[in-house]
Amino acid sequence: MENGEKPQLERIPAMQQLLDNPFLLLFLGVTLPTVLYLIWGIMEVASVPVAH
């Protein structure tokens, strides 16, 4: 830069940062169904009383 200023880096929106990070997406895409579908579902099945 002419006056020795550092170049201003364009701020990347948070949503684009998310969409550009496949491993963060992988974390979300595995965690959400694991909690809402698998763990919750398994807890429900496990809480069914056993017949005697």
């Binding site: 550009d20 895409g29 595995v30 959400l32 169904p33 809402l36 579908y37 579902g41 398994i42 099945v45």
Partner: protein, 574 residues
Amino acid sequence: MATIDSGFATPDTSTYRTCGFTGLRVERQAELLIRVNAVAAVLFLAWGGLLGLSVALTRWPAVQLLPAEWFYLALTGHGANVLLFWILFFEMAVLHFASAIILGSRIATPRFAWLGFIMMVAGAVMTNYTVLRGDSSVMFTSYPPMMASQWFYLGLIIFAVGALVNVMVFFGTLVVAKNEGTYNGSVPLVTFGAITAAIIAVFTLASGAIILIPTWLWSLGLITEIDTLMYKVVWWGMGHASQQINVSAHIAIWYAIAAMCVGAKPLSEKVSRGAFLMYILFLQLASAHHLLAEPGLSSSWKIVNTSYMMYLAVMASMIHGFTVPGAIEAAQRRNGYTRGAFEWLRKAPWGHPAFSGMFMSLVMFGFIGGISGVILGTEQLNVLMHNTIYVPGHFHGTVVAGTTLAFMAMTYFVVPLIFQRDIVWPGLAKLQPYLFGLGAAGISVFMMGAGTLGVPRRQWDISLSEAALGYDFPSAAYLMMGLNGLSAILAALGGLLFILIVVASILAGPRLDRPGAKMRFPLHQGGAEAVAATGSEGSPKLPGTIILVTIFFAAFVLYYFINWKYLSELWLFQ
């Protein structure tokens, strides 16, 4: 419309070649892996399709081709081969294409990719051998307490682990491409769709491992009992989510083919990526709709997972259902087809099997598979057709008319661009998607019709001739099952034609790696750039797409209303 049909030969380097048609850098290992996965996929489709035809002809009461024991054997083999093996082998080819080829990168850890492929082949062959032995006719779902041979479960586990290894190689290739700077900024939308498919695959395959490993130990006698409801919950995390990998992969293919055939760019990258994000977050939860009739699970779990979360995934599908035809309309208007609301559609390349297959897949996935999926995912409506043949009707609308047709369409580009052989018998190739699409649509619609009349799924004989308590289905149900059989013959002809064309093209098609070689089914001039670049179309006027989407919504609302009306007549409160 300007197209590219002729390429230029470039000398092979040790690891890369430059595609003469697309200009994309093609790494040798990635190309080989795409080839072997595509060949394996087609072989398992041929075998699974043959078994499917025998199932449909057995369920046609006037034919009833197979005896009962063979029927359940064929049904088990059909499910495993077409719902897992054909689909996942092709998806591995798609993942390698969307990472290494589109990003122009080398493939990460090719030895692991080969190891994964070999494991998938070994697992699929082992499962098929076990099914054919006749001691594992437990059907695709293999619900306990039915027990298959230990080799059945082991085959599926080996296959799933092999697929998981390849998914990890895909993520590794993304890292390699980023670190080596083979692309700038965000990955192209097609690659993003493949990332979505890969993420869902990780959840799917992990769920499969969680449930199939203890089930395998149970078959070995090392575990005394598998809780049937626990099995169903975890198994459907694999069984239904595996079909969500398909949805993400075939939508990525819709965008790719639209780009390659007419030069379509996404209407809005943000909107399309947002829709894929909704898939990543919510699509797998639709697995719960298989369990809506289970008494051991609460309504809260069922409704949160299906009605609330699944509708967000449905909204994502409707976004893609708008943006893909919208992108095609915008591109066609750029190509000069601007008259009226539908000149862009009339003058679309309907003689190009990749385009016709893709567009029929789009329409049938939405109208048949999509709408019926929402009906099945609504807890109250689900009881109308739970465990009836409506359910296979629905998933033949998504997996056969949607995914399989889209994958077939993509193969008409894979053969010339990756195998570097041109398509033989172009007249038959033009006909093939219509034949298969019409058959697949018939299978879906007629099975859904029979299911609405109460015909059960997985039933060898709907006349219940040997049952202690008989039941007479209306004659319309028998008609529907007959029409389903005829549709299956049509689809099988289309499938057979596809396999013959692909095999003959690979083995004896004109070589395209020579100077002056021409593709019979060409790429659009801006096709390769549209696939491999990022960028939105903008905000063009799309009157034709608006009309098509309005028709879809009208059909959706009408069918939804009809089912509630039907339910109100059956479910009388006194």
